[in-house]
């Protein structure tokens, strides 16, 4: 155990360092998701949404809020953890961690826990917006916290993996541009898959983002397009795989130790 968790102060320090970084670049990390969400709520929820009767038995604006939270949690968590790792490698200050008595588990946990805290903070801000603007709050806070945590762990770990693999900042954006953003947008942020043609609906079941959004929306509406157990199993499975890969890469020192 000592080899894995022998330095709790080191772990706390890394988490604190990541949060210091977050608040040092608050205009890049915290405010953009809040402003973007406000715009989405205004344009889609309030302006266009008034013409849509209801989705899954709730108003369109209420349907929209959990999707928007998940969109920002996914995007923010991945980009923050990948850019922090990559910048550390690029500027070499990650060597401060590499020469210290910190295990790979502690390093990965540090980035992941900071990612979860950051995600919860962003989600809380947007949830408050949702409560104020469209009067919607989660029905199941336990599921709300569980889903955000699982998704934030998954995307923090993916951020570590791609932050390690990237040779330039451009490489980090590849996953966001070509995979994460398209899959999130077609994964049910703006509409229920029940509205899609049968073939597209069937394909959507293979989109992991659909399961994340569907499970999270369940915490607000009490309904989902697929059973909650299915969505949570998909998200948990992917999280375990992603964290395992991030741990193996860090323990082997991939692109960290020569």
């Amino acid at each position: 155990m000592n080899a894995l968790f022998g330095n709790p102060i080191g772990l706390q320090t890394l988490i604190k360092r990541e949060l210091v970084r977050t608040f040092a670049i608050i205009n890049q990390v915290i405010w953009p998701p809040v402003i973007t969400t406000l715009l989405y709520v205004f344009v889609f929820g309030l302006a266009l949404g008034s013409r849509i009767q209801n989705v899954q038995g709730v108003s369109y604006a209420t349907f929209l809020i959990p999707g928007l939270i998940m969109l920002q949690v996914i995007d923010g968590t991945y980009s923050e953890s990948s850019s922090s790792i990559f910048q550390g490698r690029f500027m070499n200050h990650i060597q401060e961690l590499l020469i210290a008595p910190l295990s790979a588990v502690e390093m990965v946990l540090g980035y992941i826990i900071a990612g979860v805290l950051r995600a919860l903070f962003i989600a809380a801000l947007i949830t408050v917006l949702g409560a104020l603007l469209v009067h919607t709050i989660p029905l199941d806070w336990g599921l709300y916290l569980l889903t955000i945590t699982l998704v934030a762990v998954l995307f923090s770990a993916l951020g570590i993996i791609f932050g390690l693999l990237a040779e330039k900042f451009d490489h980090i954006a590849v996953l966001t541009t070509f995979l994460i953003t398209p899959l999130v947008f077609v994964g049910g942020v703006f509409t229920s898959v029940q509205f899609l043609p049968p073939l597209v609906r069937a394909i959507s079941l293979f989109n992991p983002m659909f399961h994340m959004i569907d499970a999270f929306r369940y915490s607000f509406t009490g309904h989902g397009d697929v059973p909650l157990a299915t969505s949570l199993s998909v998200v948990s499975g992917l999280t375990v795989i992603s964290v395992t890969i991030a741990l193996i890469m860090t323990a082997r020192g991939v692109k960290l130790r020569t």
């Binding site: 330095n7 102060i9 401060e96 008595p101 295990s103």
Partner: protein, 304 residues
Amino acid sequence: MDAIAITGLVKRYGDFSAVDGLSLQVEEGAFFGLLGPNGAGKTTTINAIVGLAKISGGSIELFGHDVVSDWRAARTTVGLAPQEYNFDRYLSIRDILIFQAGYYGQSGPAVRKRADDLLERFNLTSKAKEVYTKLSGGMKRRLTLARALIHQPRLLILDEPTAGVDVELRLELWDFLRELNRGGMTIVLTTHYLEEAETLCNRIGIIEAGRLVALEETAALVEKQTQGDVLAVTLDAPVRALPASLQARGARFEPGSAVVELEGIAPAAIATALGEFERAGFTIVDVGFRRANLQDVFLELTRR
């Protein structure tokens, strides 16, 4: 006890061996200089000691702790001041020290007090709340040293500690390093300033192509590897080539230099040697004698 015990260290990058069977010991309390030409394997060896490079073969122990199997205990003993500045740009100068101590498992009022003392000692107190990009080159060099010391290591490793600093600061840093060493800290440094190694280090290891070519007490090394005093003949123009008669006497020159040196020449042979310069068509503008130094040893060993 040895502060560092390296046994048969091998570090390969593909087919290239950056370190090739290196063995050396550094006693606790020593001030040790690790020298070698560029690409000899000095930084790779340091990286293997501190955990930045994965070892391909052999072993390294720090105060009896293996850096692979007992890495946590081994790393706690070392402070590294790298040549390149690698500070965290999101932290203030004071926080760079406090967070570094945190990574080593240390926190609380004692750490904050130590950080303030180090900032004071290195004249950085007025910059404590700034980020490192606001510091001058000399200040960054001092901060590198302060950060390496914040967790109170028993072994301090300095990679080119005075690169790019002015003479005044260099002398100041030398005094500080001597003080640390007198206090019992083991210090290992690599440097391109051979005068620095000769002045500070009581023991020197010279590596070339990843192998140890010399390991001695500094004074003994200079005495053993050189042949006495050096005759330095300054000509009126840079030397391109020397006649065979002077080459046979071991005369040497740096490319582009007008100074030719003959090591260990007998007093009786000086006049004849100077005559050979004249016969070869050179014009002598100055002749001097100096004591052989570490640079002569270095050139002798690394030119073989």
